[in-house]
Symmetry: C2
Subunit: 279 residues, 2 copies
Amino acid sequence: MTGRLSLNQRTTAEWSLREAIDGCVRAGLPAIGVWREPVAEVGLDVAVAWVRGAGLRVSSVCRGGFFTGVDPVARRQAHEENLRALDEAAALGAPTLVLVPGGLPEGDRDLGAARERAAEAVALLAPEAAARGVRLGIEPMNPIYAADRGVVSTLAQALSMAERLPVEQVGVVVDTFHLWWEPDVHETVRRAGDRIVSYQLADWITPLPPDALLSRGMPGDGHIDFAAFTRAVADAGYTGDIEVEIFNADIWAAPGDRTVATLARRYADLVEPHLTRPR
Amino acid sequence: MTGRLSLNQRTTAEWSLREAIDGCVRAGLPAIGVWREPVAEVGLDVAVAWVRGAGLRVSSVCRGGFFTGVDPVARRQAHEENLRALDEAAALGAPTLVLVPGGLPEGDRDLGAARERAAEAVALLAPEAAARGVRLGIEPMNPIYAADRGVVSTLAQALSMAERLPVEQVGVVVDTFHLWWEPDVHETVRRAGDRIVSYQLADWITPLPPDALLSRGMPGDGHIDFAAFTRAVADAGYTGDIEVEIFNADIWAAPGDRTVATLARRYADLVEPHLTRPR
C-alpha cells in the first residue's frame, strides 16, 4: 500500500532527479517531493516533462524561505528567490512550497525579531503564491536548528503565523522529526485542520549522529510514535501525499532502491493503517 | 561583581570537589553547584565540612530525577535514590535538588505517558523534600534530549507540572541552553515568579559539537540573548544564586582557573548588569 507515499528527494541524496523518478516508478510510489537544486541541474522544463512522463505527482517543492535577514537588499533578494521557487512549484504542479524560515543573522541574538521578520516575509509572499495556485507551507523546525536554520520552533508557533493569512494561501508543514517532542502536539495537529499542507516522516534516533543536520532516522528506527502522529494528521482531515524525508549519512551510503523498499515497508507497517479508521 | 555567581561543578569537570571549592575561593565566587558523584567520592560529611569551611553556599545539588521508568521496582528504586539525594541536599544546605526527569524507557514511544509518570514521581517526592527543607526543581530540557534524558521539554510544561504542587515544595529550573528557543519564554519566565528555584547559564553554539551531550558554550560565545533572559528572571523576582553549567570538551580541556576567570568576566559583562534595573 503506497497510495499516498512520496519520496522526498533528499532521502536518496545520491540519486539525480532522473534516478529518483525512476526509483519511485520502480517501487510503485505515486509521488515525489523535489528539491530545487536537482531540478535546476536539468532545467525546469525537462524536470516537468520527466515527472509528467513518469506519471508522478509532485507532493512538494523544497525549499523556499530563508527570509530572516535584516538587510533590505538581502530581504528583497530572498523575496525574489522565493518568487522563482513559486514559479517552479506551479510549473511542477506541486500544491506546496515548503518554507524553511532561516536562522539568526550573524551576531544577531534577537530571536523574537527574527521570527517576526519571517512572518512578514510570508505575508508578502502569500498573494504571490495564491496567484500561482501554490500554497505556502511554514515548516516549524526542531529547536536544534533554531539558531542556524529555522527560527520557527513549534507547530503552535507556525500555526499562529499561518493563521494571520488566508487558509488557501498559507499552511504548515508537519514533520515528525521536528515536532514529535512538542507538548500537546497531537492536539495541535488536529487543531491545524486544513492548514496542514504537508506531512513528512522521519524518526528521532539516539544517540544523535555527530552531524546535527544528518540526524534523522528511518521511521521505526527511533523514538517517534508514528501511529499516534498519523491518527492526529488523519483526524485533522489531511488527505495529501506523505513524504519520507531523511537526512542521514548511512542511508545516503546505501543503495537507493534498498532505501525506497525499506521506507515503503515502514510506511505500510507504521503509517498507512492509521490513515483511515473507524470514527 | 560575582555576588551571586555559582560554579556548577560540571563546568570544570576535571576538578575534584576539593579543587572546585578551592577554585571558587580563589576566584571570589560565593557559591558552588555540586554534583552527587564527586560528593560521594569524598563522603557527604567531608563535603559538608569542606564547603562550610570555605564559606561557600551550595546553590544546588545535581541531580535527582530519572523517574520515567515503567517497572514498579525501578520506580521505587528511583524514589529511594531521590530520597538520598534530598538528604544530601539538606546536609549541604542546598536550597534545591535539580530534577532531570529522564528519557523514554527502552522501546517505549509514549512520550505523554512518560511525562505523566515524571509528574507523579515529583508529587510523591514533594512532601519528602518539604520535610527536609529542600525544594525540588523540575528541569525542562532542550528537545534534543527528549528521548534519552529529559522528557520535560519546555518551561511552560515544567511550570504546569510544578503548579500542581505547593510552591514551597516544587519549582522549576531555568537554564538558558535548554530554553532560549522556546516561544514566549521571557513571558513564561516572568509568569514563573517564585517557582524559579535555579537560574543556570550556558550558551547555544553553532555548529553544534559532535557530542550532543557536550554541546554547551560559554555565555557570550553563542546565540543566546543573556540580557533579555536575565531581565526576565529578575522581573520574576528570583534572587538566588546563578550557576554557570557548561558541558563542553574544549572547556574541560582548559585549565580550571582560566575557565572560572572567563565565566566570571562573562557573568559581569552579560548578566550582572541586568539583575537590577529601574522599574
